[in-house]
């Protein structure tokens, strides 16, 4: 139920409008895919995942400018924030920011919002104005990956030493 509603709401972010087959691709069994297939950077769009395999229902990749809009949709649907993190796709020269959301409800719906950024200019607007709890998660992602959260009230290292100028979770980081 709530998954359907959220899906429709999130689809408005992708202007191709009509939910055609190419818009919502259903990933039925990831295991059957060729294991040697290279990971290619995904295009922006909404994908419905098989919960039994991936552990979440909706997976939306949006442009960095659309983050606020996407998170507002989830806030209005009473989602709570699980975590924010990053992934370094060094071969594509990209950094990915991943936002996890879930609801305090028996009508289970896990939503993942992600955005791909240029590795040399990784900047994304903060969502602390919507979710106050994003504060620490964004600080952590900033120190681990060097992703800048524009408009964050206090973007200083959280877990690392206060004078840390390195980003340990980048793939080219050497201790």
């Amino acid at each position: 139920m709530i998954c359907e509603k959220t899906k429709l709401a999130l689809q408005t972010l992708f202007p191709k409008a009509a939910p055609t087959a190419s818009d919502v691709t259903i990933d039925t069994d990831a295991r059957e895919k060729d294991k040697k297939k290279k990971i290619e950077p995904r295009q922006n769009g909404l994908v419905e995942r098989d919960y039994a395999i991936h552990g979440y229902h909706l997976d939306a990749q949006v442009a960095a400018g659309q983050i606020i809009e996407a998170v507002t949709i989830l806030d209005e649907a009473e989602f709570f924030i699980e975590a924010i993190t990053g992934v370094d796709w060094i071969k594509d020269n990209q950094l990915e920011v991943v936002y996890d959301f879930c609801r305090y409800d028996f009508d289970l719906c896990r939503v993942v919002i992600r955005t791909r950024l240029d590795r040399n200019a990784a900047e994304v607007p903060t969502i602390t104005d919507i979710y106050a709890g994003a504060n620490w998660h964004e600080r952590e992602t900033h120190e681990f990956f060097g992703i800048k959260f524009l408009g964050h009230p206090n973007l200083i290292p959280l877990l690392l030493p206060e004078d840390a100028d390195f980003h340990p979770l980048l793939k080219d980081f050497k201790a």
């Binding site: 990831a30 395999i53 979440y56 699980e82 991943v98 305090y104 993942v112 709890g133 620490w136």
Partner: protein, 372 residues
């Protein structure tokens, strides 16, 4: 002799609680701006025991990483291992025998009781009552003995394997677990007479540190912090995993939103965990504890996987991004206390410092788990 410092009524001063302070239960520092006894502003400073478990996850192969999880939360370690093995099994498509899943659930629940017992003792000690800790530790000792006999360690277990377990339980374990349940029930009654009804205890907690549902949602709070604020959310029920759907148990929810509600939730959870252990022992099926077919080298297929479990401290999530290699491409650990602690800064404004410390205790903090 110097004269005592006199402050104007609107003047504030900075007070550092921690990083080495018994009330913070670990290396946690809270910078508080105080006006007399009242907190004007607080800033939590974490990261004193940060060990970068997530980077270790990327550098070690899957089996090498198994022991890291129990170093996160030293009081309820098995719950964290459970989340990790579940996500890898899901990704790599490893079947787990039913007996192994039952034993896992029993062990995790025993560990949860042990964790709640320690929290109970430490929490009451924060409020000035020393003896309940001794009683609680005595009961906890029984659990640790049982777990030690089966898993080989008392605190930092490395018991779960991908696909099953390291060691099967024997008759002696089952016997002592069965004996433990009535003993613990009796102790719970004792705790309630000793502590729950105590008027000083209640006055320190009732109506103190209110947390609204909205605050919980904005910060992503879980465990007793959310359930004490009237949110019926327990991953074991809301997002059933492992063999939990087979068990008949309740999720205690209190609507007080105060520190007492959070206390009550955890105390009731001990009873619910005992129920699960009891049913688990009754239903325990025979059979192997490791699958017959298991890949020698674990290489989950390319993809992005997520698994949430309910640990003693709340909703713990593992995100595994695999590129098909021997090590994870990215392993994110979503720790529950991290979110629970985060709401402290906002919620303790205007509170008396003594109430704030009671509030901190009611959040059930384990610092290595926040810092990872």
């Amino acid at each position: 002799m110097s004269s005592p410092i006199e402050l104007q009524s609107d003047e504030t001063f900075i007070l550092n609680v921690g990083p080495q302070h018994p009330a913070t239960h670990g290396v946690l520092r809270v910078k508080m701006e105080m006006n007399g006894e009242y907190i004007v502003e607080a800033e939590t400073v974490i990261g004193y025991i940060h060990r970068m478990h997530e980077k270790m996850g990327e550098l070690k192969t899957y089996p090498q990483y198994l022991m890291n999880l129990s170093r996160m939360d030293y009081l309820g370690a098995l719950g964290y291992s459970h989340g990790h093995v579940l996500v890898v099994e899901k990704a790599a498509g490893i079947e787990v025998p039913e007996r192994a899943e039952y034993i896992r659930a029993i062990m995790v629940e025993l560990n949860r009781v042990a964790s709640h017992l320690f929290w109970f003792g430490a929490f009451v000690m924060d409020l000035g009552g020393f003896s309940p800790l001794m009683y609680a530790l005595q009961d906890r000792e029984h659990i640790l003995d049982m777990l030690e006999a089966v898993t080989g360690s008392r605190l930092t277990y490395c018991y779960f394997r991908y696909g099953g377990l390291y060691n099967d339980v024997d008759d002696q374990f089952i016997e002592s677990a069965r004996k433990f349940i009535p003993r613990m029930r009796k102790s719970l009654k004792k705790y309630h007479t000793l502590v729950t009804g105590n008027i000083i205890f209640r006055k320190r907690l009732e109506g103190v540190a209110p947390l609204s549902k909205e605050t919980c949602r904005k910060y992503g709070a879980s465990s007793a912090v959310a359930r004490g604020s009237g949110i019926n959310f327990d991953v074991r029920k809301n997002e059933p995993y492992s063999v939990y759907p087979e068990f008949d148990f309740d999720v205690p929810v209190y609507h007080g939103c105060d520190s007492l509600a959070r206390y009550n939730v955890r105390m009731d959870e001990i009873e619910q965990s005992l129920r699960i252990i009891e049913q688990g022992l009754d239903k325990l099926p025979g059979g192997p504890i490791m699958p017959k077919k298991k890949p020698k080298i674990i290489k989950p297929p390319v993809g992005d996987y997520y698994q949430a479990v309910e640990t003693a401290r709340g909703s713990f999530g593992v995100r595994l991004v695999s590129d098909g290699g021997k090590t994870p491409y990215r392993l994110k650990l979503r720790s529950p206390t991290y979110s629970n602690m985060h709401l402290f800064d906002e919620s303790c404004r205007g509170m008396l410092i003594s109430d704030a410390l009671a509030f901190m205790g009611s959040l059930d903090l384990v610092i290595p788990e926040i810092d990872r």
